[in-house]
């Protein structure tokens, strides 16, 4: 059919441990691609949600209400000090039992939150727990005297926050934020444990069906993750460079 797929079909016959099945078999290719797509979606959702929750958490941390601050610090303790895999299993198996389900046809029961949903929730909360602390340290790095100058110019609290505190804090915390987000993207592979059909899950199920493809598929996993993380860190690096201000910070 085409030279490349013929070559790999031939290679698989000659060396039974190197079956690049997803390079010549369309259904295998689809499994890998659909896994990649789920991984990308899960990563994007978790990164965005962890930023939003992390930001909200860092705001609540300085709330006037003690109960809000206690709530945030409890959340941080739990999510920072337990393994993300345990969190995933806990959400899916423990909390999953208590979530309501619905029945589209009167026979089957479908839970309101699927395993994919639980993975997104639990991983977002995991990533956000670190983002809270990162945002807070960034905000604390903005000198009081700078915000006071804005105050003396008659700027409102919101203006001071959006124009001064936040942009300065972001510059301070971008490096730490980058490494946490990269970590989060890598951690999405643990959703494998609750059968989320992401890249690792699809790969493993592929080599269970075709043991000869185990080596090539593991290689592919490494390459794809390096690529995904590379894109993210390149983007963040560009952002860092764009926001760099002469004579300020590192």
């Amino acid at each position: 059919m085409n030279v490349l797929s013929d070559y790999f079909r031939d290679l698989a016959e000659r060396s039974p441990r190197w079956d690049f099945v997803w390079l010549y078999d369309g259904s295998a290719t689809d499994r890998i691609l659909s896994g990649l797509w789920v991984t990308i979606q899960l990563s994007v959702i978790c990164v965005i949600a962890s930023l939003v929750i992390g930001f909200a958490g860092s705001m609540l941390q300085t709330s006037r209400y003690r109960i809000a601050r206690l709530f945030v610090s409890g959340y941080l303790q739990i999510f920072r000090n337990t393994p993300p895999l345990v969190q995933l299993l806990f959400f899916y198996f423990a909390l999953g039992q208590f979530t309501p389900s619905y029945s589209p046809d009167g026979w089957t029961q479908i839970p309101l939150i699927s395993n994919v949903g639980w993975a997104a929730i639990s991983l977002s909360l995991f990533g956000a727990a670190f983002n809270v602390e990162i945002f807070r340290s960034g905000l604390e790095a903005v000198p009081n005297s700078t915000t006071e100058a804005a105050d003396a110019l008659g700027m409102s609290r919101w203006l001071i926050f959006s124009e001064i505190q936040f942009p300065l804090a972001l510059r301070v915390c971008l490096p730490a934020l980058s490494s946490n987000l990269i970590n989060l993207v890598k951690t999405t592979s643990q959703a494998f444990a609750i059968a989320v059909p992401e890249l690792l899950y699809q790969s493993a199920s592929l080599w269970n069906d075709h043991p000869a493809t185990q080596n090539p598929t593991m290689l592919l996993l490494l390459v794809v993750y390096v690529g995904l993380v590379g894109i993210l860190s390149l983007g963040l690096r560009l952002l860092e460079r764009r926001m760099r201000v002469p004579g300020y910070g590192g």
């Binding site: 008659g154 942009p167 300020y248």
Partner: protein, 247 residues
């Protein structure tokens, strides 16, 4: 209603304490429109605290402060409206480090007063020229010397077209050569008729431009008067001691 024949800033028996430490123990002063007033005194005597009460950066526990007839420490007062009338320049400049000189100056008029950007930019460029910083429009604070940053800070305050300017030891962090360029800027401002209240250790400057000098010690005004009296013929022994140390 306030009229320009009344004091533009009037303080009556102002007291302030941090915990049980009394910083201001009953300060009264009247400042007329267009006057240049210098506050001098030993470190820790409450000069910064005093000047910061005028634009409500500090609150007070007793007494009254009015700016153009409006009580500053009225809990119902919108402080932002007060601060548009009263500009302030700090010892450490406190520019916004992520904004250029021009952006620093334009931010408050555009975002707070909602004035048209083009108009504000014209004014900002004119102000930079006035403080002799033409060509530095697009420099970031980190790329400017201390004296240049301080002049941007002055321009930033002026861009709000305040009626009163507060200066808290604005040359204290500068080296001797750059002190002069900042003082020249303030002198011109005073000559233009701006009401200026300065905390300063520059006695030569105070002598030259001040209409009135207040000497403070431990939260009280010990002596006040025209610089020619205070500097050449101080009456209070504390003023004498302070001046003999510093001059």
């Amino acid at each position: 209603m306030w009229s320009p024949t009344q004091p533009i800033v009037a303080m009556k028996d102002v007291k302030k304490s941090y915990g049980d430490f009394d910083v201001l123990k009953g300060i009264s002063m009247d400042i007329m429109k267009g006057e240049v007033v210098c506050i001098i005194g030993p470190s820790g005597s409450g000069k910064s605290t005093l000047i910061r009460c005028i634009n409500a950066l500090n609150d007070i526990q007793h007494g009254s402060i009015t700016v153009e007839g409006q009580e500053v420490h009225d809990p119902g007062l919108d402080k932002r409206i007060l601060r548009r009338k009263v500009g302030m320049v700090f010892q450490q400049y406190n520019l916004f480090p992520h904004k250029t000189a021009l952006q620093n100056i334009m931010m408050a008029p555009v975002k707070v007063l909602k004035e048209p950007r083009a108009e504000v930019e014209e004014r900002a460029r004119a102000l930079l020229k006035k403080v002799r910083l033409e060509g530095k429009e697009n420099s970031y604070p980190g790329e400017l010397s201390g004296g240049q940053q301080q002049r941007v800070a002055i321009a930033r305050s002026l861009a709000m077209r305040p009626d009163i300017m507060l200066f808290d030891e604005v040359t204290a962090a500068l080296d001797p050569e750059t002190v002069k360029e900042v003082l020249v800027t303030i002198k011109e401002l005073a000559a233009d008729g701006m009401t200026c209240i300065l905390v300063t250790h520059e006695m030569g400057f105070a002598k030259e431009v001040a209409d009135k000098v207040y000497f403070t010690d431990r939260g009280l005004i010990v002596e006040e008067g025209h610089p020619s009296e205070i500097f050449t013929n101080p009456k209070d022994p504390r003023t004498k001691a302070f001046l003999s140390q510093i001059l």
